[in-house]
Amino acid sequence: MKCPSALGVLIYFCSAVSSQGAEFGELRHKLVEEVAASARDDGFPLSPRVIAAMEKVERHRFVPAWLVPFAYLNHPLPIGHGQTISQPVVVAVMTELLNVKNGDKVLEIGTGSGYQAAVLAEIAKSVYSIEVIEPLEKQAAERLKSLGYGNVTVKMGDGYYGWPEAAPFDAIVVTAAASQIPPPLLKQLKPGGRMVIPLGMQFVTQYLMLVEKRADGSVTTRQIVPVAFVPLTGGH
């Protein structure tokens, strides 16, 4: 693991004693500044509400204890069960792309650590999240509850059919890898709504797919490489 800053380690051990952890705020602030700058450089300037959400959610609460000193590095981290917590810049850009507003209802397929749900919950009215790995679902549900995210509902189950009881949704994020986009999810997306899917492997987000449902119900997708890496041919 890349060396955490000396401050991070110090705060980690201090906070273990004091159980306060408020000192992480400074590290988080630095991380969010870094994330905002890189997202801007990539062509996805973050809106104030996304920045505020990223500032507020305590990422160190969403990683295993031994990784807490690394929580505020702009890295993906393992969370067990073969899953990871995404790189903060990817979470921020995905949240931005979802264009979530106050009062929105959001569906998430693949709760994982619950971090993305928490970030969304800072902005949206309610977040519904489905996880397929039982222990992760349990952990995330407890974690989100203990952190006071009363507007997040987590359930264990098959994400394919979405959450018909709560549908339709203003935004859907599908973080669990799939070879296809389940048609029921598209159906549960409101006209004008947005769906974001990161594609790649654990630790390695290759590109993001933004699915937009038009008012007439037709869908288009935008494929986004979350890094400013153009032009593809040098010398142009």
Partner: protein
């Protein structure tokens, strides 16, 4: 103590164990990680041997009085270290996916490398001791040693049909302990109780039950590991063979719905499926089929369904009238998804080619009801064969050749295959496929979509070059590419696409919200409508690749998209140093996932091989008394050169024979066997010339032989392979050995010739000669792979010839 005879049978067994271990490790690494890591394992083995040589040179005086005890201890240590080193290496949390974030990952890789070295160190020590002690009988020792090595490396193939690789590790322990027991008898040692103890231990080990402790633990980020975490997933069948570990997983709670890149306009739900993983990668799926086509509607919603719509176009090829449905060949049929698609689209006849008999058997037997007897239908002919071999040998002609999408999305896009040889997508492969199409027939290849575009543009360029090599004046008229949100399908037609066909392609794509990326005569404003990219990268790329600017475009492109060839079959390598620097600079912005990790990893392995071999092989000599007896510069160069050149040849031939023998494990086992046994025979031959005034001339003859055979093979192997590739393994294995034999025989001569020269001039420097040669072998194994990726096998082989020539010149100068 008597000890008048060398323990020849024991030597033979130990040598067999070590070689078998070397080969089986490649199998195990494929299961745990994503690659066989042959170059790294061979390098670690060489490091073990080299370090044992150095240890022996420094400690032999101290060891001498305890020869029997040290010999047996080393053999027993090797026996237990074989499984132990692997099981410990599994505990190292090495994760190539984290390489870009986690600066401790290279250290973890180094730990694995050093652990892998240990059994070879002990084995090398025990065999080296016998060499040293019974030097007078070196010839016989060598013969038994290499007989064992050859049997060990080849025997793996047979045993892995019977035993899973982890169980095989334990059997190797038992065998090595048995070797120790036999050594007690052969050395006429008085402590017969020792023999009984070793036999007892061997029996105990052989029957020890497998359990959690012996489990192969694949990376938690492999597809199978990820799938098994999902609630309700459970394994319903497992099969093991040298070709791979097959795992069939069922999940009725959260079912598999594998429909790669299905159109977003579709509301179809796939029929129930079982997921099939090979070495934990995949999945490909076995879909329930009861003869009803309606549940298969989703198969028409994939980009891979496009060629059927082209073939059904009325009046597409007026001179070709198809009375029945198209005759389809599916390459890499797996559990039959593409076969089902063919049947769904009304194929008249389907030939399905699958390499792994276990997969075919699962569909034919164990799950035949679930699969609706898919592989025993009269209109489906299943062939257990390697794709290239089958296509080369077949006299049939097909309306459609469909190259199945069997690798998983993540692996291909994450660069995990960057070092893997893949002969399925080379220029020569495409030429072969095209030659088996009926007039108007279509070759269809579907790949995952990667962004920025990598493999699809490489494939497009490959197809263009293949068409040109086939003498097609205007390849642009024969190519079509469409892309969905997750897959890309390339069509290459045996004939120009017609207007109605292009209309059908446009309609197919429009109805499914797929984008046409290229068709003959396409306008820029027709690209990029449904799956929007910042720019129409695919259309622009395809157009540039068909223009006179192709080479300049390839050179300027930030990823390596030069077409793969049989000489450089690294289809999945996209790494360019120039882009690496840029991506590294963008790492905090999410740039790292675009960087192909495997290439820098190879470079890191070279650095660690270099440092480890200096520290463990050369440095101990340099700080010992031996530092006063350095060999003359020319001799040092000689042993360095022949060590490097030998490894260059061996690694290049392994990679080259992957095409012929259809699988890396077969190539590793067979090529190692041939090189070891016949190089040993060459050494024996050279041994007879010791003291002969003509030894120098024989060396020149040997190097001339190396050059002649190498050049001959460079010219002939492609033709020989094409001609013989369809033969069964039982024929191909002896043919491979016979082909390598004369070359290896010549390559066995330079080492003993140099040793004899050194013995007559600077006897004290012999440990240095061993050490320098060992050092060269350690780095040579890795360096050869690196050079093969950059320059191709031909260049690596030519370089080896040049190095051999320089070595011979150096020795002549010395003489």
């Amino acid at each position: 103590m008597p000890m008048s005879r060398p323990p020849l049978i024991a030597i033979s067994l130990l040598s067999a164990c070590m070689l078998a271990y070397e080969v089986v490790l490649t199998r195990l690494f494929s299961m745990v990680l994503w690659h066989h890591f042959a170059y790294m394992i061979i390098s670690a083995a060489m490091l073990g041997y080299g370090a044992s040589g150095t240890a022996l040179a420094l400690l032999k005086e101290k060891i001498a009085p305890h020869f029997g005890a040290v010999y047996l201890t080393a053999a027993a240590a090797m026996a237990f270290l074989m499984p132990a080193a692997f099981l410990l290496a599994q505990q190292v949390p090495y994760n190539p996916l984290e390489l870009l974030w986690d600066t401790t990952q290279p250290a973890k890789l180094l730990a694995i490398y050093l652990l892998m070295m240990l059994p070879f160190f002990c084995g090398g020590l025990s065999i080296g001791l016998v060499w040293w002690r019974f030097g007078r009988e070196a010839g016989r020792i060598y013969a038994y040693d290499m007989l064992g090595a050859g049997a060990g490396s080849l025997g793996v193939i047979g045993v892995l049909f019977l035993l899973p690789p982890e169980r095989f590790l334990i059997m190797l322990t038992a065998l090595a302990l048995l070797a120790a027991a036999i050594a007690v008898i052969e050395l006429q040692m008085k402590q017969r109780s020792l023999m009984k103890a070793f036999i007892g231990l061997a029996l105990l080990v052989a029957v020890v039950p497998s359990g959690n402790w012996l489990e192969v633990r694949p990376s938690p980020y492999k597809d199978l590991s990820q799938t098994l975490h999902v609630a309700g997933a459970h394994v319903v069948a497992e099969r093991s063979s040298p070709l791979g570990q097959i795992t069939v997983v069922e999940n009725t709670r959260i079912p598999f719905r594998h429909a790669p890149g299905m159109s977003l306009n579709s509301t179809d739900e796939p029929a129930p499926q079982l997921a099939i993983f090979v070495d934990g990668d995949g999945p490909s799926v076995l879909t329930r089929f009861d003869g009803e086509l309606a549940p298969l509607d989703y198969l028409d919603q994939l980009t891979s369904a496009l060629p059927y719509h082209v073939l059904e176009t009325p009046h597409a090829e007026p001179h070709v009238r198809r009375h029945a449905g198209p005759h389809v060949l599916v390459l890499g049929a797996g559990a039959g998804s593409d076969v089902l698609q063919a049947l769904y689209r009304g194929a008249g006849e389907v030939d399905a080619v699958e390499l792994d008999r276990n997969i075919i058997d699962l569909v034919k037997k164990r799950f035949h009801e679930f699969a609706g007897d898919l592989y025993i239908r009269p209109d489906v002919h299943v062939h257990e064969a390697e794709a290239r071999g089958f296509v080369n040998a077949t006299h049939k002609r097909f309306d459609l050749i469909q190259v199945a999408l069997l690798d998983s999305f993540g692996i291909a896009s994450a660069g995990l295959y960057g070092l893997s040889e893949s002969y399925l997508y080379t220029v020569e492969a495409l030429q072969t496929y095209l030659s088996r199409l009926t007039p108007g027939g279509v070759l269809a290849i579907t790949r995952w979509l990667s962004l920025p575009p990598r493999d699809t543009l490489k494939l497009f360029a490959t197809a263009a070059v293949a068409l040109e090599r086939e003498g097609i004046a205007n390849p642009a008229a024969r190519l079509v590419m469409i892309r969905g949100w997750k897959t890309v399908t390339l069509l290459v037609k045996n004939g120009d696409f017609t207007g109605p066909e292009i209309d059908a392609i446009k309609q197919f794509s429009r109805e499914r919200s797929f984008d046409v990326a290229y068709y003959p005569g396409m306008r820029a404003d027709e690209a990029n409508h449904y799956n929007l990219l910042d720019k129409p990268y695919f259309f622009e790329g395809a157009t540039a690749l068909l223009s006179t600017q192709r080479q300049s475009f390839i050179d300027r492109y930030k990823f390596y998209i030069e077409p793969a060839t049989d000489n450089r079959p690294y289809f999945f390598r996209f790494f360019k140093w120039s882009a690496a620097a840029e991506l590294f600079a963008l790492r905090k912005q999410g740039g790292m996932p675009l960087l192909d990790w495997s290439y820098p990893l190879l470079a890191a392995t070279l650095v660690q091989a270099f440092i480890a071999s200096i520290l463990l092989i050369l440095a101990p000599l340099a700080v010992s008394r031996a530092r006063r007896s350095l060999p003359p510069g020319r001799m040092a160069f000689y042993f360095l050169a022949i060590g490097l050149a030998f490894m260059f040849m061996e690694i290049a031939f392994i990679q080259k024979f992957v095409l012929f023998l259809a699988h890396p494990l077969y190539a590793i086992a067979v090529v190692l066997c041939a090189f070891l046994v016949f190089a040993a025979a060459g050494s024996r031959l050279a041994g007879r010339w010791h003291g002969n005034a003509d030894a120098g001339r024989y060396l020149i003859l040997a190097v001339a032989g190396i050059a002649a055979f190498s050049l001959l093979y460079l010219a002939l192997l492609p033709y020989l392979f094409r001609f013989l590739i369809h033969l069964p393994d039982a024929a191909k294995i002896p043919i491979s050995i016979a082909l390598i034999a004369p070359l290896a025989l010549c390559m066995g001569i330079p080492f003993p010739t140099g040793m004899a020269r050194l013995a007559s001039t600077a006897d004290d420097a012999i440990p240095w000669a061993w050490a320098i040669n060992g050092f060269a072998s350690v780095i040579g194994a890795v360096l050869a792979t690196l050079l093969a990726i950059h320059l191709g096998f031909a260049a690596v082989i030519l370089l080896a010839v040049l190095i051999y020539t320089a070595a011979a010149a150096a020795l002549r100068g010395q003489g």
